[in-house]
Point group: C2
Chain length 387, copies 2
């Protein structure tokens, strides 16, 4: 018998995680995972970049904990452009995916019992990280313009004192919505007024179908830690994410990262650097990915309108996710096993719920499947609903 | 002003870490880092394996949190052979280097205040992880046969109740010693009797100069979590480590790894699988690395005997480290800046000290530098001593 730590035992397990592993069955068309389309990942270009990287002896050695200098430079240039002000390279820390950035942030910033404001519904990976850090989660509703920053302002006015406010600001996971510009400005101002930090988790921002990413929350204030990722714009297997933020936060995250995994792979960092510095290729690649993903989104939403007319479906403008709302009385958690029998997977709303149970909701990822399979997946879902 | 977590503020910084960054200066021959020789890393073979891996679409996608099935299989086969009993693949969790395995283990197993037995001197990365978890460190001395398991037995008999006992069992970092077989057996028996877990941290075991790695502590009992790494036998930039242990520990570590970084790179895991499965190549590669490293160790120890006759130097039988003991009255921490002025780096004993300050000791890594530079590095150190 082995005793686990008290803290760890208290982190809730995901009841549907086992069920979701079934979505990986070859006979299942999965709308469940948050995976970019495998067919859209630039595998040949990565192979070229790997060959170039591996001509350098240092590509297979340990690297500096904060990341390769060349990668920090190009990321700083990207972030400076996004935010409209210079962000120096020493304010960029490279992490093993942006998930690691979230985990390191929670560990350096939170004491057990600290209040963390999260969106409801929320990215499950963020909820797990904050729970593992012993935080007290405070859920905030979303609408079509993203986080209800007005509700946050009201609660702050009557005494709410969070350490962190977490937001997936663009093309929200799971809701698909993007925070409107006035709310971004207001959120940054509230952080300054009340002394909390905003964690702006932005893996999908560059996947705006119109090619015009939103101005980051970090453009409006200094108390914002911005997280980015190569997973959705290049490839998940690079395991390259990054964080920009106040110098003190960067220094603490770098020091904890040394404990956590010493450094991120020099090889995958070199590949990422090569791809991001090849501006002509990168711009064309992003254009291709956006166009293909937008087409999948259109196919998905038209198929839902046609085959599941009783379901309300969000209208994606970027990212990877559609949020479905089934008629009153539906239980999407009970629907999932039937859907799997019919060869389609999705994630029930309950998986993302912080406060409200969301029994009628479902998240569908339209980005993973080739266009031809998207309609078939919706057909199977419609069949499961009437079964 | 940003407040960091209380726990994090309490983790000691490394006073000499800033100084050690100076060892990366191009004019410095560094005996400081724990880096395998860049010239011994199989870069061309990795490039071939990368090209093979990247022919598969899944090589650039997310992978399962516990690791690629093919990699877990070959690691299970290796570990089964090392331990002399079958270890199933589902008892292997792939991590982002074995440093991540240490960190995840500490997080799932330790509550603040839990006692962790560490060797003194100890691997600094382990000390940092246990401190970050809030553990109470209990140091245990080493001698030429490794951890003084007899001293541990005495302390257990009078009431010491650790949750974990950490050991670098073969070619210790920093002492270079290997735990003798009777002590390994006794340590496993004590774990069974007193209910603690042994963390057998074994990145160097396969680097036995005579090609005969020691029988693992894990061969003698079930309450042992064994950590392995591709960093010293293939290349650090793969960031592939692994853990084998009790099912309950593997399950908890896998779940926390999902929080920590979702998964390790499918690409570097695929490369590692290819290299480990190419048995003829892998055996020949290990033979080359062992022979070259043994030659560097001989060059280092003869140079010390000739140029620093007043210094006692351990006799390496594998791994990467020599432990030097300077005459009474020497302060190696004060020597380091002088050594850097003379163009050579090392790590003062104080960096590894848990209890005793070890002012006369130094760790030198003989593996990083080409043979021709090893003697020159010792010459510079000798010059610094008389300066």
């Amino acid at each position: 018998m082995i005793t686990l730590s008290t803290r760890w035992e208290s982190v809730r397990g995901s009841a549907i995680r086992d069920l979701l592993t079934l979505t990986a069955r070859p006979d299942v068309l999965s709308l469940a995972g948050g995976l970019p389309g495998t067919d859209l990942l630039p595998r040949e270009r990565i192979a070229e970049a790997a060959a170039v990287a591996l001509a350098e002896p240092t590509s297979v050695q340990y690297g500096e904990t904060a990341g390769l200098a060349g990668l920090r430079d190009v990321l700083a240039a990207h972030e400076s452009q996004r935010c409209g002000r210079p962000i120096p390279s020493d304010r960029v820390v490279v992490t093993s995916g942006s998930q690691q950035a979230l985990d390191l942030l929670a560990r350096v910033l939170l004491d057990p019992g600290d209040v963390v404001v999260v969106e409801d519904p929320a990215y499950v990976g963020a909820l797990q990280v904050f729970q593992a850090a012993g935080a007290a989660l405070h859920p905030l509703p979303l609408d079509g313009d993203g986080m209800r920053v007005d509700v946050l302002a009201e609660r702050l006015a009557v005494g709410l004192r969070p350490r962190l406010v977490h937001t997936v600001s663009s093309f929200h996971n799971p809701r698909g919505v993007t925070m409107a510009a006035p709310r971004r400005r207001e959120l940054a101002a509230l952080a300054d007024r009340y002394g909390f930090l905003v964690v702006e988790d932005d893996p999908y921002g560059l996947l705006a179908f119109d090619g015009a990413p939103a101005v980051p929350v970090a453009a409006y204030g200094d108390r914002v830690v911005r997280l980015g990722s190569a997973s959705k714009i290049l490839a998940p297997a690079l395991r390259v994410g990054w964080l920009t933020g106040p110098a003190q936060v960067c220094a603490a995250v770098e020091r904890l990262k040394q404990c956590a995994d010493l450094c991120t792979s020099s090889l995958t960092q070199s590949i990422t650097t090569e791809l991001l510095c090849d501006t002509a290729w990168f711009d064309a690649h992003l254009h291709r990915v956006r166009a293909a993903t937008a087409a999948r989104a259109r196919t998905f939403t038209s198929a839902v309108a046609e085959l599941l007319p009783q379901v309300t479906c969000s209208t994606p403008t970027g990212g990877m996710f559609c949020w479905l709302d089934f008629p009153e009385g539906t239980d999407t958690t009970a629907l999932l096993p039937r859907a799997l029998e019919h060869g389609v997977g999705f994630v029930p709303g309950s998986a993302f719920a912080v406060d409200a149970p969301l029994p009628t909701a479902a998240r569908c990822c339209f980005a993973s499947l080739p266009d031809a399979d998207v309609r078939e997946a919706v057909q199977r879902l419609a069949d499961a609903v009437v079964a």
